[in-house]
């Protein structure tokens, strides 16, 4: 039954760490997964080391759980150390390699990929303080959401 099978994910999903926007980030980067999910990573970087990390966007529970673990894990790491994080390490962090549910593998790989893209962007172009609000999709067209979208 799904609740037991994914208990760990559900716990992480319900109580994620670092899920917030960071207006004073040194770099922010939006990644898109093949399913259409979007996730923005925010990093504060000092002397080549990540001093703070967070994320926000519109994504599934598995990506949320993974992003929570990844952003927590990379705090204090150098950009090179982040680059070296491989899938087995990620599976260890999450406590599951999704071998019994391979179609959700891309969901858990997605946040790490986005973090690495952000690091690459920082290494190539340096800090970018142009804070970009994550593009959040909506799941309903209630009055509140319509106002938010200017509809």
């Amino acid at each position: 039954m799904s609740e037991n099978r994914y208990k760990k994910f559900i716990e992480l999903f319900k109580n994620p760490l670092n899920r917030h926007e960071m207006e004073d980030a040194d770099i922010s980067h939006e990644g898109q997964n093949t399913c259409g999910d979007k996730l923005t990573v925010f990093l504060k970087i000092k002397d080549g080391r990540i001093v703070d990390a967070s994320y926000e966007g519109a994504f599934c529970a598995f990506s949320n759980a993974s992003a929570s673990q990844v952003t927590e894990f990379i705090k204090g790491m150098t950009l090179e150390e982040v680059e070296a994080i491989d899938n087995p390490k990620l599976f260890q962090l999450i406590g599951d390699d999704l071998s019994d549910n391979p179609h959700r593998l891309s969901c858990i790989l997605f946040p790490l990929r986005t973090v690495k893209e952000a690091c690459k962007k920082f290494k190539e172009h340096g800090p970018d303080k142009n804070y970009q609000k994550p593009k959040k999709g909506i799941s309903c067209h209630c009055d509140e959401h319509n106002a938010e979208l200017g509809l």
Binding site: M1, S2, E3, R5, I10, F13, C35, G36, D37, A58, F59, C60, A61, F62, N101, H103, R104, C107, G137, I138, S139, C140, H141, L149, L151
Partner: protein, 404 residues
Amino acid sequence: MFNVEEIRKDFPILQRKINGHPLIYLDNGATSQKPIQVINAISGYYMNHNANVHRGVHKLSEESTYMYEEARRKVAKFINAEPEEIIFTKNATESLNLVAYTYGEANISAGDRICTSIMEHHSDFIPWQMLAGKKKAKLEIMNVNTEGEIPDSEFSKISNSKITSIVHASNVLGTINPVEEMGKIAHEGGGKILIDGSQSIPHMPVDVKKMDCDFFAFTGHKMLGPTGIGVLYGKKELLEEMPPFMYGGDMVIDAKVEGCKWNEIPHKFEAGTPHISGIIAMGAAVDYLNKLGMENIRAHEVELIEYAFQKLQGIEGIEIYGPQEAHKRVGVIAFNIKGLSSIDLASFLDDYGIAIRSGHHCAQPIHDFLKILPSARISFYLYNTKGEIDVLIPRIEEIRRMLS
């Protein structure tokens, strides 16, 4: 006459259990399941008749050719066309691309307008987007209103266009477009109309003469047929004028070093050995649908849509996209539930043996236009039941409670 329990016995896969639960297959918009009659048509062909078509003079080749052309006659009759107006392709995507690459290439020039809509599947959007870019033509995109319908005010985009390519029924919104009216407008403006019937023809009667469309594209696998087989209908006079799509065997009648003379339609557009077994099985699928009656299938699905709407609307935080009235739509219901990702919903429903689709459904422009997240989609076919909807709803509620 339309007895769902009897119909279900023809579909062996519906006996399967998935994760310990009886399969509830609600992903018919992606592909339909196949009745034993279609499965037997494939194996029967390979066991008894297999040979290449239009080539040999031996018995097996004659039988294969007869069965192949018989399937073409069945498909033609099914949509009220002539057999030579039926071109077999590998899927609806290839049918749509065929028109863009042949009719489009030959007739669209710089400054011309091509009309399509924001609710198109990528297969009917990208070919025109690319053609417009290549030819420096303008792509006119008809938008939808909050009901998920194209308002009349958008129709002027059709009258100004040399070709309009429009989906008959949306694979996200379910909207049935007024293609007959759109065709009239296209013709009054001197343009042509191509209809993508992938989501309509499996579920309702289609008459291309009554519709007076120039082209009609669809696929076999969504209407009980096998994968790898699609159809393009085109008006005879248009197909005769059009250049070939691909070159090779069977499409040429006289191949010389100095030049070639193309075969007659439809063979001009069927280069190479076709998917013979698939086409014969497609004929069996048409027989199966005819036996049940397309009007009866539509009536059954309208009942399911009404029932599902009634039940889904009780779920907290749900928004269903597209027309709310069953007669205005096909049995494709896309929705989102506040705070619940569609991929999570689909993935957790699978644990209970329930198959639904999540994501953009190869129709990202409509999601972007409506500014909505990737959606969850249930889609019905003739073997689905109200009982399955009764199992689905509490499972959705359960997952919603678990994840929010």
